[in-house]
Symmetry: D2
Subunit: 366 residues, 4 copies
């Protein structure tokens, strides 16, 4: 009903290249390839972004290694990358929420808008979700086409590196905001990038004490830099005993489980005060058992399974936290490197010697 198609007075595209470089999962085997591919076009309701920065996720490592999960999910060839920020350079028919030149970060879940979940404010668990960089071409490329509704204008003052990782930081916000935070003592179990973000998010959101745990001294040092109030090296210290000490016997109000580790989850449940909550984002590698009576039922615990980001409450919350300066993610970004050197990024992740790694596409300057 608003005029949404291009006219001479109302151009809807910027002159651009017709081919581009992209990091492609080209074959059903370990590794990736850098290909020259056609620049995509913005279909109806879509926008085309010139990618400015992109984040590397643990999922990208799984895909690189072509593990069992990847084999069951991906259909090569597909351009990887589901964390990125870009500039709008083309708008498809009907797009009105952005304009050419806007800088936007991007929700990676492309949802159906039609299923019961989508119709009841649960689009993050849409039954028909397709994910950018996994099910459809993503942002490890010079350009990427995405649904316009998935775009989020980056808040003023936020550097491109940080804007690139709003998607995974949104996972942390979603997990943290799944239960009470203000005035709470919160543990973050697992200090990979999303755990690191969660430390910052919980503190910015009003947690009065944030305790971080991991087995890696490298990651625990990053946790300290993210201003965790206490860190626990669970390879050396007993989590529950340390929590009791730190909280003077009160226990935790909430746990943000980011490791997928069964012991972390059990210890987290043990260290919760009665009536506390544990929000689960970390993916266990396989099923594991729980003493339900002792750890969940008799304690009156609430458990949340968390995936994706509330669309778009989570983005709004993150926007406010970043915009205000209360949340500073920079310490969690340990490396920024050319997208061309994707193999190096993968090597860093395999070694566990990185927080978040951000990639700079061809032709962009760091």
């Amino acid at each position: 009903m608003t005029p949404t198609t291009a006219t001479a007075e109302n151009p809807r595209t910027i002159t651009r290249a017709t081919t581009m470089k992209a990091i492609v999962k080209a074959k059903a085997a370990e590794g990736i390839e850098i290909h020259t591919v056609p620049v995509p076009t913005a279909g109806p309701g879509e926008i085309l972004l010139k990618v400015k920065r992109a984040g590397v996720c643990g999922t990208d490592l799984h895909i690189y290694l072509w593990d069992r999960w990847s084999q069951g999910r991906l259909q090569p060839p597909v351009t990887l990358g589901h964390e990125f920020v870009g500039e709008v350079v083309e708008m498809g028919a009907g797009v009105t929420n952005v304009k050419l030149g806007d800088l936007v970060s991007c929700e990676s879940h492309v949802v159906c808008h039609t299923c019961v979940a989508c119709r009841t404010n649960l689009a993050h668990v849409c039954e028909n979700t397709r994910t950018l960089g996994i099910d459809i071409n993503g942002g490890f490329a010079e350009y990427v086409a995405v649904p316009a509704v998935n775009a989020w204008h980056i808040p003023p003052g936020v550097p491109l590196e940080v804007a690139a990782i709003m998607e995974p930081c949104g996972n942390a916000v979603h997990t943290a905001f799944a239960g009470p935070l203000s005035g709470c003592t919160i543990a973050v179990t697992g200090c990979g990038p999303i755990g690191l973000f969660a430390i910052g998010v919980a503190k910015a959101a009003g947690a009065t004490c944030v305790i971080a745990s991991d087995v890696s001294p490298y990651r625990l040092e990053l946790a300290r830099q993210m201003k965790a109030d206490a860190v626990i090296d669970v390879s050396k210290e007993d989590f529950v005993a340390r929590v009791n000490e730190i909280t003077h016997g009160r226990g935790l109000d909430g746990v943000l489980e980011m490791s997928g580790n069964p012991k972390a989850m059990r210890d987290g449940l043990l260290a919760l005060r009665n009536g506390g909550r544990l929000s689960l984002l970390g993916l266990p590698t396989e099923p594991f058992e729980l003493d339900w009576n002792r750890l969940v039922i008799f304690k009156g615990i609430t458990l949340h399974g968390i995936v994706g980001r509330r669309m778009y409450e989570t983005w709004d919350q993150l926007d406010q936290l970043l915009r205000s300066g209360r949340l500073d993610l920079r310490a969690s970004i340990t490396h920024t490197m050319p997208m061309e050197k994707f193999d190096d990024a993968i090597a860093l992740l395999r070694e566990g010697k990185a927080g978040k790694v951000v990639l700079v596409p061809w032709g962009e300057s760091a």
Copy 2:
């Protein structure tokens, strides 16, 4: 500050016997004994009840059989019975919330009022809970002394048999009210007495479809009498397939897990729509494993560990449901018998040939 001690004009006791019969776990071994014991006295803040009716719980069977849990928890001798209704016949110092002659049902958790849980509206998970009939003498007797704050005036029009089982029905209310009910499709997995109550509660509270499952034709027939919209015999039918059929593919909005059975829980999670909730009251006999990714995380499920009753929101909710006539528990009470015949009640429970069994104390007429 209010005068709360007895005077000639303000009697605080009714003339009564000095000894009474009671069902006592007298020894650390299977079975119970009927003893003649002194009638207890109402201490400060306590009331003495003349027991009118009492309900037999699965927990009483465990204690009778002297299973591992009982051995770790009970210290004989103790008078059993944590579900009962009685008449106030004596009021200790400071009691102002009841008067002589009142009929009251009774919360079985005697809490400390001091721990963090008690001070933050989570008294049902008080760290220092002692339970009537388990940790301290209960209501399978002619008289029982309880804290006055644990008394709940029975709603008008509610028969004594029903008033006697407000405590276990409160478990059902607590489980049901832990998540959305109005307009929801709810499954109750496990049709023992609390499951049967939960069917009635969910329907009275506005669930639009209540599906009950069990393996016992006897209990499924009781579920039908409690007006379940559909019943599933999981010894013969596939739970998930049947739920999909009944809900035309939508799945469940909520599961009230009353069986403690790992398969019931897994099937319940599978049959939930994304974003649904599963509230766990049934106690598994041992730890069991879950495919967390598929059943909880990717579906965005919320799990609640449930124990006891919110003190006293749950009682108020149950009171309103009963008082209005929307909740009718009578079909779930399959047997009423003299307390003297406690062994017969235990036999019925062992055979699985009973819904709720209600006992009539010595000297009371059915």
Copy 3:
């Protein structure tokens, strides 16, 4: 990304007329006119409906009478009608959530999807809402074009008359579901059509007692037919005294204010128990004062301003209530008449001699 444009194998329209009759607010003056106008076309993201039934709203009366509000809001000419059900006869580009021949009811708020409210699950208070039949052409016509996302498939077994009024009944659902219902005593103040729906909704959703008030014996009789547990004629009886009597001094848990009447609101607040809630949908004709201390602050009351319907949780809740048969709206529909006789419908509303009036468009048989 899904093919969404018409092909020979995938027709996206049904042969249809090119002109149609419509009830048009043609001039800035009292009254309406029946015009012959072009049948609209489904633009991108839109669908064209063949209207089957439409409901007349109090707002239509305001527009007919051309009151001050109408003068400030409408820009004639506009086709009226924001409550209707129709058959999909044309699908614009990009539409995938319906197919030709589907019967759909329709959300009347056409929202921007871009403002903060739209992006945070508050689209019902979108800052840029345009309403069908007020700001853009509506459904008092043979055909109407609407955004495809605004369509809701009518639940099986629901008659067309009822499907036509899901929009105003959604107002009642939204108001009722704004606070606790299960086990609650709820008053509905004002028994116009939305009040009548609210009675049925509150009962179906688990309220244990629903008290309805009005000054019109005609409407109170309809309230009885909607199965209110008690009705209060506030022209003859004192609301607060009667509520105290009915609730035995407890007071109300919630009030659904549907009258816009200052006294109804004050009495509702007075009759609430401490900590209760009052949800306001009825629009006062002018500002009015409140004794905030006594009625709101000292009682710890929560007030909700309610407008529109949660998009689309409210529709899903209503769908479940109707589908299950627990909510039966038929008694609230007092008249069904040809759309041609719109003036008669307006007369009925002016006289207060109608519940909901449903219109049958030209060429449709009742």
Copy 4:
């Protein structure tokens, strides 16, 4: 059931004076008198405190001036003072939650534990509340007797001056925590002591921007010292315009109304984004009107009437905020003076030249 009475081995009192000084509203007229009165005794369930510090409240000024409200509520003689901290020097029968020598702050609402509100976690709106220092003797004295359940152990590291004002700061916590805070932009309208506390509470609890308004430069300076992100002098600036500027047009997520001023409330509602909340603690001096349609209904606003403190969730939240050091109230305490000089404190309040004034009882050193 626990031994709770004094024995030689278990003393329950400390040797103390038999008379004391107290600030007494002795007559139904303006002013107060300093009397020598008997030291009270701790009855069953009560404790006697040696008062260490006490806060002066606006309510005390009302009582001093003997305004209409005071005339309708107080029955002289009564010892004033409902904000205080003290040392436990005597424990009545049945008290187990404190021990001699403990330093405790004190909830001022003495509730019935019996009404529906008390039984459903709404004791702060108990129908039978009596308030210390208003309905029963309070803490502007050397000693005060209070129910033991009203005592809250002061968190480690909190100075006596701050511990004395946990009660009014609890009002601020209750108001702030009535709606979302984390990541929110919150306005505090009215910078009296509770408004000043609310600024600190909202920031500590995770609000990303806190805007304070008042007409007094003195109080606005205190707001700045409490670290408000922006202050608005509404005697000179337009509140709504300034909020729009500060929030770049987004509007407020929440308003904490502390002034009781009709214009502050209307402006707060206007400046809220659609779907926001306004929590009302400030008491208007008389009823006032609202344009409900424009300010509440069409915007989908939620209003909370707030009184007292959640018992005792609010105390626990405040404890955590203070204990962690995230909430520092010291800048809000502008004067500390001997209790003897109560008239001077009243003078300061009348002149509006004070934040919170704290009194030091006879015999205590500042």
